[in-house]
Structures are given as C-alpha cells and as structure tokens.
Amino acid sequence: MTIESKTGESKMGINRRATLALMGAGAMTVAAPWVARAQAKAIKIGMPTILSGRVAQLGTSSRNGVMIEVEKLNAAGGLAGRPIEMVVRDSKGQPQEAARIARELVNTDGCEMIIDGEASSGSFAVQEVARDLGVLCVHTCSEASSLTADPKQRIPNAFRCARQGIHDSIAGGNYAAAIAKAKGLKKWATCSPDYAYGRDTTAEFVTYLKHFAPDVEIISETWPKLFQPDYTEVITRILQAKPQALYSALWGGDLTSFIDQANLYAMFTQMEVFAVNMADYTALTVVKNLPKGIHSGNRYIKTFPATAENAAWGDAYKAKYKEYPTNWSWQNATAIMLLNEAAKKAGSADGKKLAEVLPGLTVKCPFGADGTVTMRAEDHTIVGYAIGWGTTIPTEPYVPEVKAGDWKQIFELEAQWKKSKGYA
C-alpha cells in the first residue's frame, strides 16, 4: 500500500496541488501529532538501477524481485514493524547518474538504505557513495569479484547479495573437468565478452578447469565486445582453431545472438559447449533453436534447487509478472529476505544496526543450496546459494538434471584464489 501512495505522490510532485497537499499534511502533523505517532514511520529504501536501454530487463526484473518480497513483508508487518517504501530510479546505465541518484535518494528522499541494482561501473560508483555517506548498501546485481573480495574496495556498510564469478568458475571448472576427462576433451577455446566480468570469469574458469584436468590446453581465445551485434568473425575464428570444447561467458541477448549465428555454422555439432549463463529463463525461453546438450551453470531455474519452495516462488513470480524470474530477480529478492532477518535479529530497522548483524547472518531462502544462504562475515558477500551445472534441452524444464556444486570445495579453492590475488 505504501508503494502505491509513493508513486501517486511523486507523480503530482511538481504541481500546485501537490504543494497544497503537502502544506495540508504539514499542518495536520502540527495540529495532530498523535496521528503521526500512531503509525510506525515507513522506512524508505532507495534503489538506483538500469530501467532503460539494452539492459532494461536487468532493472525491471530486479525491481520485480524486490517488490514481490517487499509486498509479502509489508503484509506481515514490515521491517521491524515499519512498512517498506521502495523508491526505484533509472540511472540509464551511467555511473555518474547512479552516484547522483544514490546521493539524492539518501539526502533528499530520506532513504535509510540503498539496494544497488547497478551493474559493473555503476556499482563501483554507488560503492563510493556508500563509503562517503555511510549508508547501508546492498549490491544485488554486480558480480565483479573485486567489489567485495578486494579489501581496498570493501567497506563495513556495504554488502553483496549476488553471485560471484569465482564461485561459478570453481564449480564449473570441476564439472567441466570431469566431462573433459570422460570424453577426452583436451583442446579448448574461449569466447567471452571483453569487459571485466567476462575476462575475470573466463580466466578463473580456465584456472580451475586446468586445476582439475591438468592436460587441458587453451588453443584459442576470442573477445567480442559487450553488446556486439554480429559474431561472424568470432565464430569463424573459433571454427578454424578446431577446438574440442568451447567455454563462453556471454549472457542475455549476446548469448542468444551468438547461438543463432553459430547454429548457421553448425558449431554445436562440432564441439562441446560450456556456456555458464545459458540456463537462465531470459535466454532459454527466447532462443528458438536451442541446441541440445549445452552445458550451463544455473542462473535462476525453478527446478534447481528442486524444492517446493523454489518452484512455488518461481510460479508466484510468473503469475504476477507474466514472465519467469531472472538471475537478478532472485538476488534482489534475497536481499530483502536478508534485511528482514537482520531487522528481526537487531530488533530495529536502523541501517547501522543492520550492518552490525548482517555479517555472518544466515537466512532461510528458497535459493539456498541447503535452503539457506549466508552473508559471509569476512568479505560481505553471500555464499551457500544454489550453484550447479547441467545440460540443456529445448523445452521445459530446459535443464532436466543439475549437478550441484560442492560448496566445501568452493571455499577451499576460493581461499587459495584470494591469497593469490593478494586479497587475503
């Protein structure tokens, strides 16, 4: 209910009636202070995200993920008794706008915490605002490892509630190595988008693939640009290298373009393909000629973890928004679950108190590998979320069998990785 009233208010924000209404409201609070005190004050949470341009889906599905949980929470009494009021704004994918909006949300709109639905450079810009203003900030879309893993970036009041490339890569490396050994795949090629996420995730995957299967060799690397419309020259280059297997960190529309174009060259009959971002409904439901047997990590899929809670959540989301959730949706929903759990534990919705109890907090969550996810204390990033790999089929459930990753192994190797990077 609070959300509707907020949008109603902001729509009138600039006309005279609104000013009068505000003055009226002001007069009322002066005249009748008990009215204001009777209801718990709503807590505003600001959310800068990308709602326009090529990745508008990131913002819309993130907002959906947040709202589905916020509505549940408000119906159940709100965050430590205070109803949540979300204020979501479009940064258009520009970091200076993300920083500006984050500051405005806190300084002008009175938001007490920030859910940062920005990707890549935008999330680093919001991190600087959180550093400056000391406001509680939960990053929900940025998978760039350094955001939380690098002690130079880390701040006590910022948390990441999103996948991290290194986790996917260790699980993926292990899975791929087993197949490489079984099928004798020694010559590998990579094709990933040329930006930080693509480069880091690919380098990490290769490291762990070689760790588990030492005789694997990378014979070709291709780095198309992010949002490149045409992959012809990349595809022909890969075909000439004649690898036995291909790894790709392409995602979303780039991945589907790549698949459609590679299909023309019958690429998928010539090599095993490992595309970490394939098993996401955004890509699965869109590709018309999905080749059988692409290996993929899970992003969001309602059949993994194969629990009733997860399936129910996916169906409820689909019923409400007429489309399946994205990877961003579950990450944002989890952020609200974490905040709620933290507020219960702290007995308050105060951002500073939440930041104190969030480290190490475990919350029941349909997306957890064992039904829970944990905000790891040492580096403020979530762990224990469902992670697994499987092969695709062209129809639902798209990835019939998902082999779950082993978090114990992930933790061990991640610790070594952190040392090698100088992060620990």
Binding site: E233, T236, G253, N263, K288
Partner: protein
C-alpha cells in the same frame, strides 16, 4: 596484438576464404544500412542520426510479421515497409521542418527521435530481448567452398544486398526518376523550378533509405537478438562506413562497408582486443587524408 596469428592466417587458404567471406557478410549487412544513410545525405543533405532506429523497427516489424504468418518473406516485407512508413511520417512532419537549417538543429531532431523511438519500442514490445529464430528453410548445414565455411542463409543475405546495390546504381543512373533524384541532389531549386515536386522526391528518398535500413533489420532478425536501442551500434558502424566511403556516394558505401567488414574479420585475428579501436583509427586516417571520403561528392 597477435601478428603471428595474422600471418598464420594469411598463408592458409582456408583461413583467407573463411575470414574474407565473414568480412563480406558483416560488410553487406552494414551496406544496406549505410546506403540508406548515404542516399538520404546525398539528396536531402541530412545526416540521419536516427537511422539506426529504422533498422530496429525493421527487425521488430519483421518479428511481429513472422510470428503472425510464419513466413520469412512476409517478415521481410513487414520490416522494410513498416520502416518506410514510419520514415515517411517522420520526414513529412518533422525532418521537413529543418531542411536548410543548421546541422545541429537537424541532429537534435534526429536525436530526439532516437530517444522517443527506443522508448516506444520498449513500451510496445517490452524491455526484454527477443529472438526471431531461423526460418526452417535455412536450418541446413553450411556449405564448404574452397575450404571455407559458408552458411546458405548468409548467401541469401549477400545476394539481397548485392541486388539492392545493383538496382540502386542502375536505377539512379538510367531511369528518369533516378535522373530527377540526382538533379534534386545537385540543385533542388532548379529542379523545383522545372515543375518537379521536390517534396515528393524528398519524402520518397527518405522512405527508401528507411526501407533499406528496415530490410537490413529484418534480414538480421533471425540471427541477432532484438532489444530497444539495438540500432545504435549499427548506426555507428554504418556512419563510419559512409564517412569512409564518402557521404552521398553509393559506390563509396559499398566499398566502405566491405573494407570495414574485412578490417573486422582480419582485425579480430591480428588485434582481437582492439577491433573497434581499429575501425575508428581507420576512419581518422581516411578523414585526414581525404576529408570527403574515398568516393565523396558524387552521387552514384
């Protein structure tokens, strides 16, 4: 930089054939967009900054047409005619008001429509990306020509683009309408004084340019994902093509598009991480050496 790979490719015939054909494929689709851009500039003296949006409209109209009828031919028609119709409305009601005005004003009007069109597509078709899927007729294995791999769908694409180039070239050079268009490009006041309706010519040329961009979008729809704002990267590339080839020159657009395709396909081997930079560098060099582009100043 990887010179070994580049020299390695240049001594292998399979590599040369494959990369040259992929350069051709990239280039010909670019040509379809760029030739509309250059035609509009040549006749109307307008740098149509919103040209990418018509490529986008072509793709989305083709998608809707294909979903309704299941016919790729209908999809192509929907794409090009839909883009042409929007182009005509755009030209008659908005662009025609800025003829002869400052180039910045023209750009600004186009920029306004880039913003509006992108948001309109987001409202109509939704923010999520779409894919049309390959028509069944083209779901066939690729051909092998001289050791290189060539998908049949791309043969169609190249054939259509070449046909368009030939028709445009011949049409402008030989037909009466072509002569009038060339005359209008050269001296609109004179043509108008001779009793020719220049407004009609301008509208027709603008719609034709948009139809070509729409055709390119429709042809690309089976292999490229559709998103609001998808026209932008294509606009930038076709813009480079027209500048290199010479604004207003159809032959220039053809040569420029092929050159750029080759720069991309061989650049991806020699300079895999700087392919885009290479394109801009190429553009700077051409502009400095020959500001009007390789084939500037003459239409067709």
């Amino acid at each position: 930089m990887d010179f070994d790979a580049l020299t390695g490719c240049l001594v292998s015939s399979a590599c040369i054939v494959t990369q040259t054909t992929s350069g051709l494929i990239i280039g010909m689709l670019l040509f379809l967009v760029a030739v509309g851009l250059t035609l509009i500039f040549g006749v109307l003296k307008i740098v149509n900054f919103s040209h990418g949006a018509f490529y986008m409209f072509g793709a989305y109209f083709a998608l809707s047409g294909y979903q309704l009828t299941g016919s790729f031919i209908v999809a192509l028609l929907c794409g090009s005619l839909g883009a042409a119709a929007i182009g005509l409305i755009f030209e008659r009601f908005f662009i025609s008001r800025v003829y002869g005005r400052d180039v910045l004003m023209q750009l600004l009007v186009c920029y306004a429509f880039v913003l509006i069109f992108d948001d309109a597509v987001k409202l109509i078709w939704g923010p999520e990306f779409k894919s049309m899927g390959m028509p069944a007729a083209f779901q066939v294995p690729p051909l092998f020509i001289a050791g290189g791999v060539v998908p049949p769908f791309y043969l169609l694409l190249v054939a259509v683009a070449l046909a368009v180039a030939a028709l445009l070239g011949l049409g402008l050079a030989r037909t009466r309408l072509g002569k009038v268009i060339r005359a209008a490009a050269h001296n609109p006041a004179m043509v108008s004084a001779l009793g020719v309706n220049t407004a009609l010519i301008y509208g027709a040329v603008f719609a034709l340019g948009c139809a070509l961009a729409g055709l390119a979008g429709a042809l690309a729809a089976p292999v490229r994902s559709l998103t609001p704002g998808m026209g932008f990267s294509v606009l930038i590339e076709s813009f480079i093509v027209t500048v290199i080839g010479g604004m207003g020159s159809i032959l220039g657009a053809l040569i420029g598009a092929l050159l750029l395709g080759l720069v991309r396909s061989f650049g991806s081997i020699g300079f895999p991480l700087f392919t885009d930079g290479l394109m801009y560098l190429f553009m700077v060099i051409v502009l400095v050496a020959r500001p009007t582009g390789l084939f500037g100043k003459d239409l067709a």
